[in-house]
Every structure is written in C-alpha cells, then in structure tokens.
C-alpha cells in the first residue's frame, strides 16, 4: 500500500520534508490550516490561540491517552494566503527546543493541491531524537536504493 504522504529525512541533515497531494482545491487545503475549528478536527488538538498574520502566534494543546496535556506553540513569521506560512514550532516543557517550519501550498489543478512542509531543526541529532519520540517514531534512512527494493516487496 502506498501512502500519499511522502517523508524525506536524509541522513545527518537537520531537516525533514513532508509532501502530500490532496484531492482538494488549494483554497480548501489552506483553509484547513487557518480555521481554528477545522485545525482542531484534523490535528486532534485544542486550539488555544491562532493568529494568522505576520508576527502572530499560535498555541495548541493535545491530551494524550493518559489524560496528560501537552502544549505547543509558535510564532508566525510569514503568512501569504493560499501560498505559504512560515512559523516556529516548540513543544512546551520539553528539552527539544524550537524548530522552524516552512509550509508551502501549491495548486495542482482546480480540484487538487499540494502541501510541502519543510522543517528545520537545531541539529541532526535533535531531529532524529524528535522523530523517535513515542508518538513520532522515525525514519533516518534515506537510501533510496534500499527503499526501492523494499517497496517492491509490498
């Protein structure tokens, strides 16, 4: 089974790129990122604050299966409707530090669109650590040759 979401995390790099094509017009894809009620539904988080503008900020809160609450927040550096959002992301009360996210929204056809999420971490080690969190176990393998062989087995 092929996933529509592609993740590229090259070895020893402090970045991660996630791309996904949607069966949605660009405007609807973008709306899913800016409308708090919609964000809550697909991210599975409570939106405490979401200011969609340059110098704005956001704060979300998730509740894990044990009932513990986790908050994360960031500042919005660039906000171009239907085009891009540049923002920071930080999990509160964790040692992971801040990461920088570049979200690029692209129209493919009238009914399809694409999202590219480029995340930059402070270091490659920090990236790998974050990818290996229990809720976000990771990839640190980008040997396409091997992956090609593996994918043919599926």
């Amino acid at each position: 089974m092929e996933r529509k979401t592609k993740i590229n995390a090259e070895d020893d790099k402090q970045e991660l790129v996630i791309t996904r094509e949607f069966d949605l017009p660009l405007e609807l894809l973008f709306k899913a990122y800016v409308d708090p009620e919609i964000v809550e539904q697909w991210m599975g988080t409570k939106v405490l604050k979401l200011e969609n503008k340059k110098h704005g900020s956001y704060q979300f809160e998730t509740t894990d299966p044990k009932g513990n609450k986790h908050r994360f927040n960031g500042t919005i550096h660039e906000f171009s409707p239907n085009e891009k959002i540049t923002r920071t992301f930080e999990m509160e009360n964790t040692p992971f530090g801040v990461q920088l996210e570049f979200l690029e929204f692209e129209k493919l056809t009238d009914d399809t669109s694409k999202l590219k999420m480029h995340t930059v971490f402070r270091s490659a080690a920090q990236r790998d650590q974050i990818l290996q969190l229990p809720f976000a176990q990771g990839i640190n393998l980008a040997h396409n040759r091997l992956q090609d062989i593996v994918s043919k087995l599926k």
């Binding site: 996933r3 529509k4 993740i7 709306k31 393998l141 040759r145 091997l146």
Partner: protein, 105 residues
Amino acid sequence: MEARRDVFQAIADPTRRAILTLVALQAMTAGAIADKFDSSRQTISKHIQILTECQLLEQEQSGREMYYHFNPNKMKEIAEWLVPFAKMWDDRFNKLETIMKKYKK
C-alpha cells in the same frame, strides 16, 4: 553476556548502510566488499559480521567463495518500523482531506 544485535543499531552506521547498498545490487564476497572501502579489511569484516548476525546479510557458499546476499525481508521489517511517523502525518492529512471535502461544492 553480549548484547543481542539490534537491527536498528546495525543500520545506524553509515559504513554498514553503504555495504547494504552495495550488496543490494549484487551478491559479493567479503573481499570484494572491502575493496570498495578505504577502511581496513578487519573493520569491514566486523561490519559484515554485524550485518550477518542481525540477518540483513545472508551467507551463501559458492565453490570456495562465501558470498553475501542482501536480505530484503529483514529490511522490510525496518521499513515497517519506520512507518509510524509517516503514518501519523498520513492519518492527519487523510482526516484533513475528509473534513474539507464537506466544504467542497
């Protein structure tokens, strides 16, 4: 007691991944693998041993030579282990798509 070989630890090393990439193309002897690297034969031999112990490589005797094959099934296990992060985002995006289709007119 020696720690059990961990397959994830095995692929965490760049030289071992390079070995896997080579052997994935064709079965090779330990000597032929070592020729591709600047490291000593002993070093490469140790890497091959680790990869064999965790079953990423399989040995096959052919005449007087011992060939190493890549075991894609073992690699597949790793690929599946690596999936959760991708799955988390895939699930979220699938949900996003489903939700937004309601707004589609």
